[in-house]
Amino acid sequence: MTTVPAVPNVTPKGDAILQARGIVKRFGHVEALRGADFDAYAGEVTALIGDNGAGKSTLVKILSGVYAATSGQMTVDGKPVSFASPSDAHAIGIETVYQDLSVCPDLSPSANMFMGREALRPGLLGRLGFLDNPTMRRESAVAFQKLKVALKDMDAPIASLSGGQRQSVAICRAAMWAKRVVFMDEPTAALGVVQTARTLDLIRRIRDTGVAVVLISHNMRDVIQVADTVEVLRLGRRIASMRNTGITVPDLVGAMTGALDAVAEPGEQGVAA
């Protein structure tokens, strides 16, 4: 079994920065996750794929602190963690780009970048809640520049930007705050060809800063383009974990739908490329 290339538990670069084991999540009688495992590595893109209802979104919500798991363990840098809220996950450097982007239309890009974590003026004014807009604008500009995102207007409400630019803001926000992991839920689902290419570039640049990027996607071509590792969920369990070396779209679809069950044993085994 261990001789098969690209099998689970082949640690690509040392230990996983984020590791989940045996995650179970029940909503009433529905069991969305039935002992799912997950690993993400620093400086790598990990794609999380699976058919509708496989439990991808639920898993990501648990890993980013939105839901609490019914049972199971999570470790970050080898230390056990548990999140009561997304703020707990933020505190240890885990950020998420949600599918709806989670931006507020009438606020400027920099106000959106700092939403919930605003910089305040020093002294009494700060204690009264006065914003330090110059600092936020400057730090946002640095974050945009670092990821080579060019915005036309840093002060216009974000509603006046194009869909692609809005998404760049949401992604830069996550990248600016994330010290360890960035989750991205279907970042290319609503985008055209050109914007998709740019977003994938952005993902690579974030990966190159050394954080772990977790990409949830339905688009197998995107996954093959950017992922270093692909984790496949089916019916609430991790069914395969593959290094992206020569895998093809049919391999991924096969793993997702179970067509390759004859080749690889579910829950145990990866898929040979």
């Binding site: 507020c104 919930g116 869909g163 692609g164 630019q165 985008l191 055209g192 050109v194």
Partner: protein
Amino acid sequence: MSEADEKAATAAVPASPAAASATIIGGAGLSSRQVQIRSVIQAIGMLPVLIILAIAFHYLGEGRFLTGQNLSIVAQQAAINCVLGAGMTFVILTGGIDLSVGSMLAASAMSALIVSLVPGFGLLGVPAALLTGLFFGLLNGSLVAFAGLPPFIVTLGSLTAVRGLARLMGSDSTIFNPDLSFAAIGNATIPITSGFGIPVLAIIALVVIVASWFVLRRTVLGVWIYAVGGNPAAARLSGIKVWRILLFVYAVSGLLAGLGGVMSAARLFAANGLQLGQSYELDAIAAVILGGTSFVGGIGSIWGTLIGALIIAVLSNGLTLLGVSDIWQFIVKGLVIIGAVALDRARLQGNART
């Protein structure tokens, strides 16, 4: 897609409608000048309507509208609605509504007059009114923030209940105080030139608008108000305590209704629980909507509300000046509100982006 394909795609004409909106690439998007013009148009909003109305009334009224004296009256007429509209702007920005401001104003005015009759402590009528408004506002806010009830239902209830309380406070009669110690608030004018002065009421309204602008655009609280209205889920996920914001905006609306109560008590030297502030909530909502603030929350500006309140006051004043009957004033005002908002909607749709 390979590296080369990407470059080709970048160079090619965008193939899908979604790609067509990509503005970051090359010069395909708007120039920064266009963006600037657009944001200026958005900021001034209904100002042209206000100016056109003022000029039209001036000519139709044979030069009687744009005089110092008449403008000072317009400012006075707009003041209370401006203050209520400011509170309403906070509430509507979070996606809520406060139907109870007229009733809270009546109850606050009753408090103001009752306390003003206490010998030696007449001035305490002002804080009494403010606290009355704040109390009812906090009550509304608690029901919305903690019980999770829909704002429309909560404030529809308090519209009725607080009106009843206001009548109860004065045993359903009018309370007079001819020696009102804070009457200056409602009647004094700060002279600028002979024949023209700025009414204190208008100054209060302006101070409220400027203070609201500071809170909304310069403090964390303001950003959170826009966040809660613009994307409640995002606000919650980014750690904003949504209940605090909701409590705050209804409290502000109540407090400003209390201030409105002080202003109208001071103006009239009297308060009547049954009649005072009837349907003021509708004028306040109209001012906010005319000002371009979105009913679903998250988008809007306090300056728009100021302009909206001025449009309503100009309409009332101008139509009266022209001798239009009260009945027709209602009809015209209603149609102008609908027409102005329809125009605004059309303008914004022209600017809509994907």
